[in-house]
Each structure stands twice: as C-alpha cells, then as structure tokens.
Amino acid sequence: MRGKAIYAIALGALMGLGGVARGEQGVTGTTIEIGAFGPITGPAAYIGLGGRDGANLAIKEINAAGGVGGRKLVLHFEDDGHSPTKALAAVKKLVDEDHVFAIFCVAGSNGTIGSIDYVKESGRVMYVSFASAPGVTWPFARNLFRGGTTEVPRYGELYAEFIADQMQAQKVAIMSGREEYPKNEGDALTKQLQSWFNTTPVVRVEFNIGDKDFTSQLLQVQQAQPQAIAFFGNPAEAAIAMRQARELGLNQPFFVGVTMVDQNFIAAARQTAEGASGFALVPLLPGSDDATLKAWEAKWKQEYPNLPAGRPNIFDLLSYGDMYVLAEGLKRAGPEPTTDKLIGALEGIKDYRVSVIATPRTFTPKHHIGNLQLVAMQVKNGQWVPMAWEGKHPSDILKRYQ
C-alpha cells in the first residue's frame, strides 16, 4: 500500500515536471521573466557586472515607460564564474527553476558554449551580447542570436583593411596572448591579410597572459622591422609591453585588440597609449565628450552611485543597448508572446538601436548576426576618440548564410 503511494507520488512529480508548457513559460499576466548569466566573480567579473547592471538600467527605463505590451520585464541574473560547468548550472537554474521566457547572455565564450547545447534543447531564445565564439551563429540555430560583438572573421576583415589602408603598413608584426580573444584576433588578422591583401605578418610572436616581461618577443619584433605592431591581449600586459617597446627604441605605431579599446587601457598605459588605434564595439566609449553619452552616464551614476572607478564600462553600454534590442523584439512579438513569435520579431529587426550610443542591429531569417560594425578609434590626449574611417571592402561573412 505504501509502495503504491510512493509510486503515485513519484509519478505525479514526474508529470508535474513535464507539465511546464514550452513556449509560454516566463510570461505571466503582468511580467515577462528574462534570465541572464555572466561572470560576476573572479578575474572576469567586470564583464558580467557591466552586463548585469547595464541590462538592469535598460529594464528599469523600459518598465518606467510602461513595460512591454503592458507587462514589466523582470531580470533573473546568475553568476557563471567564467566556467562552463557553472554556466550550465546557471542556465539550468534559469530555465528550470526560474522558468524564464528568454535568456540574455552576458558571459564569455567558454561559458556560452558550455550552455549552448542545453539552451538549444530547451528551445528558449538566447540573445548573446558579448561572446564571440563561432558556435552561437554557425551552424545556424533558430533560437540563438548574437548582439553586440561581431563574428571573429569580421574582426580580421576590419583590422586587415585598417592596417593596410589607414595605417599604410604592408609589414605588420603581431603580438598575441595565449587566450581565446587575443588568439582569435591574431589568427583572423593573419588570415585576412593573406586573403584580401596577399601579405603575411613579418613576425608573429606569442606571450602568456600574466607575463611581466616582453623583451624576448620585442627583440624579435624589432629584428623584423615592421611598420606597425598589432597587439592582442589584456590592458595589464599591453601597458608593460608597450612601455618596454618604447624603452627598447621601437617607435612604430600600435594597433590594439578590442579588449584594449577601453578606459582601463589608457589608465594603465598612460602616455605610451597615445596614438594607439583600434576598434570599439560601441560608437562612443564611456567618458567620451558627447551629449547623449554624458546623459546616459549621468542616469547610470544616479542608479549606481557607489561603484568603483572604471564603471560604467563598455559592457554596461553594450548590455544596455542589447537589452533594448531584445525588448524591441518582445514588443514586436505582440500581446501574447511565444518563443516562435519572438524569433520572428527579432528576425524582422533592421538597423535598430536605442540611440547613438549603440551600433545598429539587423537580423534576418537566414542569419542571426546582429552587428557587423566596429568603430575605428585612436587615443588622442588620453582619450579614445572615434576616427572617421569606414571599411569599404565588402564583407565575406554573410556569404555562407545565403
């Protein structure tokens, strides 16, 4: 008798689990539950914290203006500690326990890839703001969208064209760190220099993240006599390497990777940063002299008054802009949003951005690459200033989605 009761209870629990309907979970009469995850502990914390706080600011504004279709957006944020194991736990919690409708991903590449299989299985829409891992957009998956960052080959395309065209350098030396982003940027640049301009870097040297001395690499660079030096790594290493380069008598201009187009880099490298160029994911960096940006920063500081130096950072800005894109998709999905309707709505978005502080997003039913635009910048008087340069070479990225 007791056995039967246990069996019944177990069966009932199983049915209860299966009873959560797919597609409408996370949408109630008054709210839409959005899940988000990213690193807020550990060395990558500045990424997830910016992602979370920027998204929350956007949501607060959207809710104050009436929400989406009369419903308020509610954000559930989980830490992924920059680890795939923890990222998977975060996503399972969001989908399974918090019953979110869609996921806004502000994690790094490895955390994102760690969660991707489960997200695909669950059918939830995931909008990826920062991670550049190829697996998000290729092979094509209906429920995955990439927002702020661009495809890795696109970095290569723009970098190659800029170095060849703007910096007028045929002989480039590449210094890259042995970590995901820097390695990707270095590889992409090398590949694109070959395929578009038929040139190869005069030397490619690597360094380890955490290195404190770059003399052996810099001497090799010096021997190769480049016209420009491309540096892909982190601000801390860039500061040391660039200072040592100048000490050794290397006077070539520096081109830096996207993680260094940031106030942190200038704060760390100071005078040696002057004249460096690179590409940013946003039209204006925090701290720039622009009225719209300053107004946004003022709102941000009002919302988060006690945060440390360096905030708001680029991730706050990117995440804010991308949350508006997701919200726009939710709006266009109509009064009774479902996952299918959201996907359809997002795929109809063309050149949308909340204001001049974001780059425009475009999705189509064939590809979900939201952003192919990077903004060329240069350090002038201790600030990253946008340059009036645009890539003219047509991109090859979208060809494989035809």
Binding site: A44, V205, G210, A236, N264
Partner: protein, 292 residues
C-alpha cells in the same frame, strides 16, 4: 643572435628576475620564520600594493613616508590575521592550517576585487623614469632600485636571523615549535611576528613591483614564479632565493627568445620538477636529511 641582443636579453632577464627574486624573498622569509607554507603570501604582496595605492592617492605624503606607512599597516594586518584566524587553529592538523591560509588569501583577493574591480592602476615611484642607456642596451632604472633593495633586504635579514636573539628564536620555532617552547621561547609571539613579517615583506615587494607592472588583484600570481625561484635557491637560503629569482628570469628570457612563448612557460616548471626530483635542496640550500 648578435652580442647586442644577447646582452639585452641578459639585462632584461635580470630585470624581470629581480621581481621574481623579491617575491621569492617575501615567500621564503616567513617560511624561515614559521615553518608554515602560507598560501596567502601572494595576496600579501597584492595587499601591500593596494595599501600603497590608497595612501598615495589620498594623502599628500612623500614616497618614503607612503612606503613606511604601507609596511606598518600591512604588518598590522598580518598580526590581526594571525590572532583572529591562525592562533585558534595552530594546534590543528597541518592541512587545516594550509587551507586556512588559502581561505584567507581568497578573502583578501575577493574583497579587493569587489572594491577596486579588475582595473589596473598605475603606481608612481619617484625613482621611476625613462630607460637608461648603457651603450646600445636599455634598462629601466626601477629594476636597479629593486636589485639594490634586494641586496639591502638580504643583508639586514641574514644579520637578523643569524645575529639577533629574536631571529634565532624564529628559526628555532620554524624547525620545531615544541622543542622551542621547551627552550623557553614564547612561540605565540614568534608566530605573530612571523605573520607581521610576512605581510611587511610582502608589502615591500608589492610597492617595488607596482611601478613596473601596475596594480590589479591578480599580481599575487607572481607567487607561482617565486616558488620556482625559491626552490632553485633552496627554500631555506635568502641569498639563494635571490639568486634563484635572477637565474629564473634570465633562463626564461633566453628560452623565450630561442624557443617562443610555449617553452618560456614550460621552462620554469620543467626546472622545478627536475630540481625537486634530483636536487631538492636547490643550488644553495643545506642538506634535507633528517637525523633520526
């Protein structure tokens, strides 16, 4: 490879080696004084650097005053940590102590990260300046200051450990606390002082390397290279730790030039393993034999 390049590599190798040597000292000295491997020693360096940062940006004091204050405050932190967290478990199994120091290190790093995030702050020292030119070679003067401080530190501390009663008491406690207690040594005060010393020397290391590598929560990772340097020198010799650091820097730099970044990475650990398996007392350490 020209002579010029070889000499520059040697100079730069000694320069980065001086950083390793400094942190290695910060590791070996507390070990010599307490016999316990402190997993938080890297964070002692980080803590010292941040204390220096706070002081130098909020008070209009000359550098020497900032440095002195930093060492004192760091030392006070060390004493506080010892009394609150180490004293209660000093009789616990050894692994408990080791994990406790690990937890303390985690707390320090997490707290620093929460407040200052992962920004890299520059740190100015009055002796910092453009590279000095010695013929075709270039050397940053800050490294020379580090080497000078290394010599001074080793000199002072060797005299302390060998010559003063307190220093000898510390060494006794490190070798065998029970026997030391039986000899009438106040083991508790020795432990407290050992932690103060650990924090203080860590702070000096942090202050001296900060102008060269910037200040962020991860600079404590230098401790890993420092461990290798300390092993090369034999964990008990101060001069050996310095020599080990310098040697490591030179070896790394030359390997990087000849073989690229991978080997540059592998070399320290390859050396570490080889030495430990073949000559664990390092190049300068005494015999490891225990007499029964």
């Amino acid at each position: 490879m020209t002579w010029q390049i070889a000499f520059q590599l040697a100079v730069s190798g000694l320069s980065v080696g001086s950083i390793y040597a400094l942190v290695a000292l910060a590791l070996v000295i507390p070990f010599k004084a307490s016999g316990v491997l402190n997993f938080a020693q890297g964070e002692m360096v980080t803590l010292g650097a941040y204390i220096g940062l706070v002081l130098s940006t909020s008070l209009p004091l000359p550098f020497v005053a900032v440095a002195a204050l930093t060492v004192i405050i760091a030392g006070a932190f060390g004493v506080l940590i010892e009394r609150l967290f180490i004293r209660p478990i000093v009789a616990a199994p050894e692994f408990t102590l080791v994990i406790a120091t690990f937890a303390i290190g985690l707390i320090i790093k997490a707290a620093i990260r929460l407040h200052w995030q992962d920004n890299t702050f520059p740190f100015d020292a009055p002796y910092a300046g453009p590279a000095l030119a010695v013929g075709p070679l270039r050397v940053n003067p800050s490294y020379l200051i580090i080497i000078a401080c290394l010599a001074a530190l080793v000199g002072v501390l060797v005299a302390f450990f060998r010559g003063t009663k307190f220093g000898k008491a510390m060494r006794a406690v490190a070798i065998d606390p029970r026997a030391a207690r039986l000899m009438g040594i106040r083991v508790e005060s020795i432990f407290m002082s050992a932690w103060a010393l650990a924090a203080g020397i860590g702070a000096i290391a942090g202050l001296l390397v900060a102008p060269l590598i910037g200040i962020n929560p991860e600079i404590g990772q230098l401790i890993v290279k420092a461990l290798v340097a300390a092993v090369i020198g034999g964990f008990t010799s101060l001069g050996g730790a310095v020599a080990g650091g310098l040697l490591l820097g030179v070896l790394e730099t030359f390997c990087g030039a000849f073989f690229g970044a991978t080997l540059k990475n592998i070399v320290p650990f390859g050396i570490l393993i080889l030495l430990l398996l073949l000559k664990p007392q390092g190049l300068f350490g005494g015999s490891l034999q225990q007499r029964v």
